[in-house]
Symmetry: C2
Amino acid sequence: MQLIVIGGVAAGAKAAQRARRVNRDIAITLYQDEAEVSYSACGQPYYLSGLIADRDALIIRRAPDFQADGIDVHVRHRATRLDTKERIVEFHDLARDAVATARYDRLILATGARPVVPPIPGSTLDGVVTLRSMAELDRFRSALDRLHPANAVIIGGGYIGLEVAESLHESGVGVAIVERLERLLPRLDPEMSRRLHDHLVAKGVRVVLEDSVAEITGHTGRVASVSTASGRRIRAELVVLAIGVRPNVKLATQGGIVLGPSGAIAVDPRMETNIKGVFAVGDCAESHHRLTQAPTWSPLGDIANLHGRVAGENAAGGNARFPGILGTAIFKTLGLNVGLTGLTEAVAREVGLTPVATVITTRDKARYFPGAHEVTLKLVAEAAGGRLLGAQVMGAGAVDKITDIAATALLGNLGCRDLENADLAYAPPFSPVLSPIIVAAGALSKKLE
Amino acid sequence: MQLIVIGGVAAGAKAAQRARRVNRDIAITLYQDEAEVSYSACGQPYYLSGLIADRDALIIRRAPDFQADGIDVHVRHRATRLDTKERIVEFHDLARDAVATARYDRLILATGARPVVPPIPGSTLDGVVTLRSMAELDRFRSALDRLHPANAVIIGGGYIGLEVAESLHESGVGVAIVERLERLLPRLDPEMSRRLHDHLVAKGVRVVLEDSVAEITGHTGRVASVSTASGRRIRAELVVLAIGVRPNVKLATQGGIVLGPSGAIAVDPRMETNIKGVFAVGDCAESHHRLTQAPTWSPLGDIANLHGRVAGENAAGGNARFPGILGTAIFKTLGLNVGLTGLTEAVAREVGLTPVATVITTRDKARYFPGAHEVTLKLVAEAAGGRLLGAQVMGAGAVDKITDIAATALLGNLGCRDLENADLAYAPPFSPVLSPIIVAAGALSKKLE
């Protein structure tokens, strides 16, 4: 039995490894269009900031590591055609500039996502960068080293834009963020997005909302400034396109594989597509949202790994199921940790629920304990019964812990009456005597119908 | 309506505040035998180590803070007699050396616990200390400052003994721990207790097991050494009695209040005792264990606060319920964080369950990320079906987060098949791409029947 995996960054690499662990007998071949496999795209901002000094530390496993496990790896092979009837994939062998074909019994698509590059005049100037692949990382790093930008414009106020804002700020580059929408990170409720906004501004970041970049102007082939639709002109020697990403589904659609409403590949709980024996995982695939029951697209590294484990097991003959996502995410920007899970108050209303919410600001450790930091927690629950719907957490403190407690509570369908008496781990170096989530759940319980 | 609260450290202070918040009209009087109310006993080890420089930072609220909320406070009043028929409490007013009496309509007992002081010859020598009240803390601090001990013996290898071991070690004092049982912290499974043991020994702590102190020998009234039952002689200028604590229930039993099997006061889910209108909270009261369904005694600061909230609300006319505990605890000793929740493998067997378990050692952040620390996680689940039963976590890393995820999972009756696909918060500064709990749950899933 021949298993082919197309794409070897996170989901594909994990799927191949899991398939091998489940079944020692099948043949597994991994194709990757880049020169490297199995790297941490999520770690890239920390290499740009200099926190991670060694670029290659981002590479988790190399081709020989896979070969040692009996997984054949072909790098610099771009899949160009998929025939799901004959079960053949055609590749462009980039090194030899030749066509290669391969036949599969089972196929896992892990083709990932690509940054959206809008047709802005000047976007090919030196100093206009994106961030996704290792090649893009190298170009970004090179731009920093060659151009020594004093100022940068980041187009897009999502996770990647905000993480890169930190990287640049820590490198001494002045940062402006231009966001088309009326607030940063619209996945947050307005008052939480506002806190994020205020934090960035307090740290010296210029935040331009409801505006977009109309043109990037150069000088001797290098970026010099951007002009916005509303007529602003912002000086910058570096422009980061962080508008968003789109799933890479060209190969899939060409092969007759059905997409879901999000535009990513539709899959069942076994991560199998409409074509039996063909699985899709990671940033090119949809997930089921456990709270809205709707298909959703969540292109994040941990989800990619979870997808990969399930599809790898199934492609090798197992029967694993992926139960879906909660929309959990976390990032850090200029020293502010931001975590979210489940539904915001706004989204809860959109999907027809009646939420109640509370926002508290407290500390993540006993008040008297050195190193205690502030955290702000917004907890959202169903007005009738108090079932937890979501949490948004922000601060210099243990945002990750509170987000994970809330995510686990969502997984367990817990209500705020359960959480207000939760037996969580307390000692002064770790927590205030009552965890912020207990305090917030107690406040929210008082608001229930 | 007159509410009397006896004891004002954690549970009593919280109960009085909650009662006041729920009901502005009742009279509330708080009696405390010490000079101070509302302090963090859990923070004391960090004042001894010097990490917290200001002793008074441990005091959360003072008598005037309570008075400002309309809560009458009488410090240095020791309750000596309780008449639950006439609803009268008699106090010894320590300042005036006089008897005082007070009549109540509702009563909350928050009389706490006391360190066990065994009848060891020499235990009244200068340099023999305990830790619980602020007076004991002051004596401990004074012993350190006056005696400048080069070596200390800690009798008892439980939480307090281990926390004080860190305090002394960080102050440059050589530490020996003498534990009567065959291992440190028998609430941990043997292999986890062994890890803790090895860590302490590697840090230079002498650990003596299956032995007890037979005599403390002095020189000019001061501690000079201890002799153990097995004939060891250990030089020490400081001896810490940390054998354990017992609930203060003398007043309760004298007043006809029924104790539970643990020896602490039996309460119902409203925290009410066998006598209507009399509540018991904190270290003198039992809790219901959510997993064993048995009454249990868990004298910890966070449980005291949860108890206090429930009893305070009910004493003021509400109807809150305390759903019980999970046995969650955490502490830190010589840089090692140790967390536990739910049942150990051994206890699961004792209560008639059939557990499976796995132990993994991994990192708490992406491997390449600066500041990633090792954590060892033992996860225990029911062999049939995989319901999570407990977790033990140890390491220099984010033990508190993993413990809290596990505790929340226990609260939600989650199984390891739920946890192996949990959507937790991932970004490199916060977590490896798959949380240790996901990895351990995945490994455990493979062992299920």
